[in-house]
Symmetry: C2
Subunit: 155 residues, 2 copies
């Protein structure tokens, strides 16, 4: 079935960087633990800004995603369609109110397709630092899918 | 910015059903708890089969997603691109080895784009029952996004 040869690591690093720089959205998977100890996975699409090698998203201060990021200190992200994915295991570098981060707000608004400063709600920025990134299209690319490890691009 | 009027609930129910019936992939968000109690979110794209009002995926028996499904008994799923999403909170109805589910394997192979019976690995089917489904395109559709509640379509 699969006839397209797998991309080299170098190609995947280049493609992953391009996807992060040009994509307008990111899937953000988080999880929280209920009072009874049950783990509750969560997932939403958010507007993405790739700034200084960080994934920056803006979200309501009291959203489930914000709670999950605070609780676990990590998230798993996906950029791209399901057959051309960039999967990111990221740690939460910081979460700060939009109104207290004017410089970041400026850069986010310039890069993203909306400006949380214009929203009446209480928004925060979550700055997520990628630790591991994997890139693959179809099953032929599952081997060699790691393009970043311990925060360092592999090519 | 947003000029397209939001869809009615009825339209969203119809669109969501169509997306489930025609989409070939689903994002599956799960989570596990580490030995130190840390919650670890996980996310992967998988091949989807919508069979009997259930999301059916096939995955390696020892994958992180399988472990997460077993541990939490639930998952959050997404079908469609980030600006036309069908978000599904699902419970794990059952997980069974592919080789012990010949009828399901037949239906899955007929609907999906691959056949786990042909793979040398040890695969299981996860049968996920939607409890809540939400559908939206842009922020104008966040209101009225719930199309299924407690397992029942709302239109």
């Amino acid at each position: 079935m699969q006839t397209v040869p797998p991309r080299s690591r170098q190609e995947r690093v280049r493609d992953s960087r391009a996807a992060l720089e040009t994509s307008i959205d990111v899937w953000v998977a988080t999880a929280t633990t209920g009072e009874d100890g049950t783990v509750r996975p969560y997932l939403v699409p958010l507007s993405l800004a790739w700034l200084g090698e960080r994934v920056v998203v803006a979200l309501p201060a009291d959203s489930r995603t914000t709670h999950g990021l605070r609780a676990a200190g990590s998230a798993r992200l996906a950029v791209g369609p399901t057959r051309d994915v960039v999967m990111i295991d990221a740690v939460v570098e910081r979460i700060e109110p939009v109104r207290e981060a004017p410089e970041l707000a400026e850069r986010y608004a310039a890069r993203s397709d909306w400006d949380p400063r214009e929203d009446a709600g209480s928004y925060v920025f979550a700055v997520l630092r990628p630790e591991r990134i994997q890139a693959w299209r179809e099953s032929s690319e599952l081997a060699g899918r790691t393009v970043m490890l311990e925060g360092r691009w592999l090519a």
